[in-house]
Symmetry: C2
Subunit: 288 residues, 2 copies
């Protein structure tokens, strides 16, 4: 493909969440040349699902993921069941949105718990329960391993290897990839096993590819992600591995950043488009 | 052993670094019932090595580790060599202090680099060069895997498995454990492979066991460690695994915390002693 026509791009609405709601984001992303969107459920709740769907469809955007289901480990069975119900609503929303997948941020330790293996067992139990329902709704589940610094409070699934083990255990025969993973360079770049795990990954299970960057000196655990190129991640190397898997989704920019939330969102989007050029070319080339 | 006589304890001087220099720390740790100390080189430089050694010896403290050597990945060969020379001085200091080990915080990415595997190769190269010199000086090297959130700026060795692979590659025949590891619960508690890796660990390579806790909601990447019991780590479970290896060192409290640095250091030490009781009993019991 030519330099003039790089591959397409999705933006996760968290990237502009302080500036735009989902409807404004959909309109502006499309106007500025973005072809996909990944909305968050709390932002959808603000405008209503119908408005979100209309704005996304009217602007011709592909939904690369719905954020998020998960948070499975709970302090008691009642909360566990209530959270499953919330995940069922998330599956229904993902279906309505024709989303490529429902992203699962699986949850950390229940308040007061020190039993991380117990939490991991609750994650497996919950996904096993939800998987047939997601499949019936035509929704692919994407386990997103989160950086180990979130193990306590957000997600006890912290490596791609762990996520793959879950997939292989809960859905050993899964030619359509109803259970798969979302790969975010921010969470996995440091992992010495990353390349081996990408080789182990059945391509049909790769549902999302998130890009951003890791600041060499990170100032905040949650809201200090960097724009591609401003950090230390060799994003292009990971993109080549992802491309080699035949990934057919769109790369998706997801940046939680106090810095970027303070910038004119049109400039944020323009910068996302510019800084993702190399990755988009890699994915386009390897897909052809 | 009885409840009245729990096992011994070491404190890392980083725990009281804002309140006490090494000499004051040695005097006060001993006076309050602590039996070991792990000093930092920058703190030793402030009082001079001879004063530090005298204070530590006069107070009958065991040196459970010298912090720290490492920082091996460098932007050019000149810096690489200069840093090796600094590590040679650290080996000499560890020898003078009769330290159980020299702790290696291996270093992150050189400024401007995105090549984490290249950084890891520089770590291996440096340790291979230093190991015979350390052995000649009677100093055991302890690779300390650091939490993946430090991969960019402090240490590209981020799991116990990675550290063991380095040991097994660089010192395959090492019955005296000249090359080993320092295990800090803060860095490894999240790792789903931790127990398997502790089973893989040759006991002779376990040179240090650091304890503290991980706050469920951590507010700062560097200076928000918790006192044992105030966080989510199942420290006693890890201590049982460490005890099962026949660990003969002292558990060592190492807490970087803006909160605890603002507390009367005598209270910090008293709290360390109290909150480490369970771990000390576990290590004493399993050693007998």
């Amino acid at each position: 493909m030519s330099d003039e026509s790089p591959g397409a791009l999705s933006i996760n609405t968290a990237t502009t969440r302080r500036q735009w709601g989902v409807v404004e984001a959909a309109e502006n992303y499309a106007r500025l040349g973005v072809t996909g969107i990944a909305p968050w459920r709390d932002q959808i709740a603000e405008c209503g699902l119908a408005s979100a769907i209309r704005a996304i469809r009217d602007n011709g955007l592909r939904v690369t993921g719905l954020c998020r289901g998960g948070m499975f480990p709970q302090p008691d069975r009642t909360s566990f069941a209530a959270n499953l119900d919330d995940n069922r609503r998330a599956i229904a929303e993902a279906h309505e949105l024709s989303s490529d997948c429902l992203v699962l941020v699986c949850g950390g330790l229940p308040e007061g718990s020190r039993d991380i293996e117990g939490a991991r067992a609750m994650v497996a139990e919950a996904i096993a329960l939800l998987l047939p329902e997601a499949q019936a709704a035509g929704v692919r589940l994407a386990i997103e391993p989160l950086h180990p610094m979130y193990a306590a409070d957000r997600n006890c699934i912290n490596t791609l290897g762990q996520a793959l083990t879950l997939c292989e255990k809960l859905a050993p025969e899964d030619p359509n990839g109803w259970l798969g993973v979302a790969l975010d360079v921010y969470h996995v770049w440091w992992d010495p096993a990353l390349e081996d795990m990408l080789n182990r990954l059945d391509p049909v299970r790769l549902h999302a590819f998130h890009i951003c960057d890791w600041r060499r000196t990170t100032r905040d655990l949650l809201c200090d992600r960097a724009m591609m190129g401003d950090g230390v991640i060799d994003i292009e190397r990971i993109a080549r591995n992802v491309g080699a898997l035949g990934f057919e989704g769109l790369p998706e920019v997801e940046i939680f950043s106090n810095d970027w939330w303070a910038v004119d969102p049109c400039d944020v989007v323009a910068t996302c488009l510019e800084r993702s050029l190399a990755v988009r070319r890699i994915l386009d080339c390897t897909q052809v």
